[in-house]
């Protein structure tokens, strides 16, 4: 078998295993003591009945509202991201896994999700600025009231477990943002991660200097098959692994026929 073929067999199963592991690890908060104060660089609502880790965006909002510099939170996020950059979006984030699952179902139905929409890195940084700015201004975790991750893993389970009389206004808002996010994910591959995720913005900052990198060797023939398969719509070869949009999912490595791309440190 061709060596590149062997590599293509390798990365996808590893990534899928890591995504399943990420999903399990984020949901082992069965008891009070299993609900830890560990912060992981993934957008997963800590109000989920089984959440075991803290959502960094919710936590940062809390500290913004408290007007305190969160040394432990910044240090934790920094450590994770210096090690692996935005690969957490591609391999660990449960909300990213949901987006991948939507893309996978769609491709099995024979309708490939569009990956062609141009990246617009500024959008997610504006979102991050707005999220933290609003928390600072309103003294509230304002973004949590709209967050589609919270809608899916916290609002729906709690509403099902503890029905309240009538439907509260913010529950309707939650359902609308979730529906819009899922619809956009069906139309465009990883739409939320590309343009709106505030956690993706923080993770993306670390991409350029993280220890885990994607290297392109001289064997590259610039056939651009890697770019055709990029779920984040990266459209330049020199941006693979370096752009704030690259989630280091390894699809480019899998699709390379000359084995010119590889993970490196």
């Amino acid at each position: 078998m061709h060596r590149a073929g062997q590599l293509a067999m390798k990365i996808k199963p590893i990534r899928t295993s890591l995504q399943i592991l990420g999903l399990i690890l984020h949901n082992v908060g069965f008891t009070f003591s299993l609900k830890t104060g560990i912060v992981t660089p993934a957008l997963y609502c800590y109000a989920c009945p089984l959440a075991s880790f803290a959502c960094p965006i919710g936590t940062l909002q809390h500290f913004c509202a408290m007007r305190t510099l969160p040394l432990y939170v910044i240090g934790s996020i920094g450590l994770w991201l210096t090690a692996a950059g935005r690969s957490f979006c591609g391999c660990l984030c449960p909300f990213g896994t949901l987006h991948d699952a939507i893309g996978s179902v769609k491709s099995r139905l024979g309708k490939a999700t569009s990956t062609k929409l141009n990246p617009y890195p500024t959008a997610k940084f504006l979102m991050l600025f707005a999220v933290l700015g609003l928390a600072w201004y309103t003294l509230d975790t304002f973004f949590c009231r709209f967050c589609p991750s919270a809608s899916l893993v916290a609002s729906i389970p709690y509403f099902a477990l503890n029905p309240v009389s009538g439907i509260p206004f913010y529950f309707i808002i939650h359902m609308l943002t979730l529906a819009a996010t899922l619809l956009l994910a069906v139309l465009v591959s990883r739409f939320w991660c590309r343009y709106l995720c505030p956690m993706g913005a923080i993770n993306g900052i670390f991409n350029k200097f993280s220890i885990l990198k994607i290297a392109r060797t001289e064997e590259c023939t610039e056939c651009k098959k890697c770019l055709e398969n990029c779920p984040m719509g990266i459209n330049r070869l020199d941006e693979i692994g370096k752009s704030s949009d690259c989630i280091k999912c390894g699809r480019c490595i899998d699709s390379c026929t000359t084995q010119a791309l590889r993970f490196t440190t």
């Binding site: 609900k35 104060g37 109000a47 910044i74 240090g75 920094g78 450590l79 609002s155 913010y170």
Partner: protein, 51 residues
């Protein structure tokens, strides 16, 4: 032997890791419990169950 051009970025990363470890240790005692309380106690308003 590692060339100087490769050595400097590696050293910078090492320093960055050191800085983040320092930040974690500096804030751990004061903040860990606060962060854990966010996971343990649910804000019903945030998830849209209370107005």
């Amino acid at each position: 032997m590692i060339p100087r051009a490769h050595l400097l970025p590696r050293l910078a990363k090492l320093l960055l890791i050191g800085l983040f470890i320092f930040l974690v240790l500096a804030g751990l005692e004061k903040e860990y419990g606060v962060v854990q309380s966010f996971v343990q106690f649910i804000c019903r308003a945030c998830i849209g169950l209370d107005s």
